[in-house]
């Protein structure tokens, strides 16, 4: 009886300390960095609409890393969630630009093909 009361008295503060501390958001950091890198790989630097979200992602990753260094893990976690979202948006914007370029090229090719057909039709 005495023993169990003593055990409770010793462990209770430890459990409280565990619940209060926020672990370093290393996975979130990796996810945000991955999203930012993917955006650059599909050309976010060259797509005007993608440049702002890309910069925001990079800034917030930097802020999160500073926060983690200061032990502000929870704040870092929030910043990294935002950074990942910005990275994904930058990627989508870059992808949209590529799609527009592809469409213009396809339209040009199609017009050229139509000219070819018209010439062939005239030759027939």
């Amino acid at each position: 009886m005495h023993n169990s009361i003593r055990l409770l008295l010793i462990t209770a503060p430890l459990i409280g300390a565990c619940a209060g501390s926020f672990p370093p958001p290393t996975q979130r950091l990796a996810d945000a960095q991955s999203a930012e890198r993917s955006a650059r790989e599909v050309g976010a630097n060259d797509a005007p609409a993608a440049q702002l979200p890309l910069k925001l992602a990079q800034d917030q990753i930097g802020q999160a890393q500073k926060a983690m260094a200061n032990g502000e893990n929870e704040r870092a976690d929030s910043l990294l969630i935002r950074a990942k979202m910005d990275g994904e948006l930058a990627l989508a914007q870059a992808r949209e630009k590529t799609a527009r370029v592809d469409h213009l090229e396809a339209a040009a090719d199609s017009a050229e093909q139509k000219t070819t057909n018209a010439i062939q039709g005239a030759v027939k």
Binding site: A49, P53, R75, S78, I81, R82, M85, D86, E88, L89, A92, Q93, R95, E96, A99, R100, D102, H103, A106, A107, D109, S110, Q113, K114, T116, N117, Q120, G121, K124
Partner: protein, 305 residues
Amino acid sequence: MRTQSYIAILGLLVGGLAACAASLPPQDLLSARNAYQRASNDGSTAKINPSDLDAAHKQLNVAEAAFTENGDTQDTRDQAYLAMRRAEYAEVIARTRTTDQATGATVDAMHADEKQTVAGTAAALARSKTALASQDSALASKDVALAAGKVALKDEKTRREEAEKRAAQAMADLAKFASVKQEARGMVITLSGSVLFASAKSDLLPEAQLKLNDVANALIKEDPLSKIVVEGHTDSQGGVPYNQELSQKRAQAVRDYLVSRGIAGDRVTSQGFGPSRSIADNKSPEGRANNRRVEIVVQPSPTGQ
């Protein structure tokens, strides 16, 4: 009492201001609402990318709930920020899909056009092939005709060579009993009168007929357009009228015999010269024998041969 009242009113005012400040949504939440409004107002996003728009809606609800429960906290702003970005994301993805679809349709149309071009090219190719094939067959038939022509030419050459050989043979046979000379008036075949006729007669001797067969064979080989004159000649013994008549009859006999052996009648004429064209001295028996003769003159046709 009065002072207490003022303090109470001031307290209420401060509390009210605080409540007022707490009820003002942060800029991030306003931006999130606007962004979602814009994304959902454009019906195309809801149609083309409903899942991302729905995610944006849920995130906006999270932000609104955070604001309602906790007011303008950092968490509320973070959630609002995410809601705004999700709405933008939904729009961008929807626009990209629309563009990709349009590109796909353009490419499909182009491929259809390309197929048409290919079909047209194939048709042109087929026409060229047909034209080539007919040219080939024309060439082939020309080749066949050419080969046939060569064969015919060879046959003709062979025939000509054989004919020339036969003519040469006939001439050689002829040369055994007659003299054959080329003169200005044509080829002259001279037959001795004693070979053909008995003295003072104009009937052909039996052996003369055999010899004239050779002559006829040789003449048949000659140019069919050439004219043949059979000339009768005598020596000067006896009267001229007699010899003239005799030479005429003898020439006629030879001419008739040649015609009976297949020489065309309209090619052959006969003429008697009597002793008028002696070729030797009539004083010697030998000379007279030479003068008694029949000459067959083959006159070349005007076209020559």
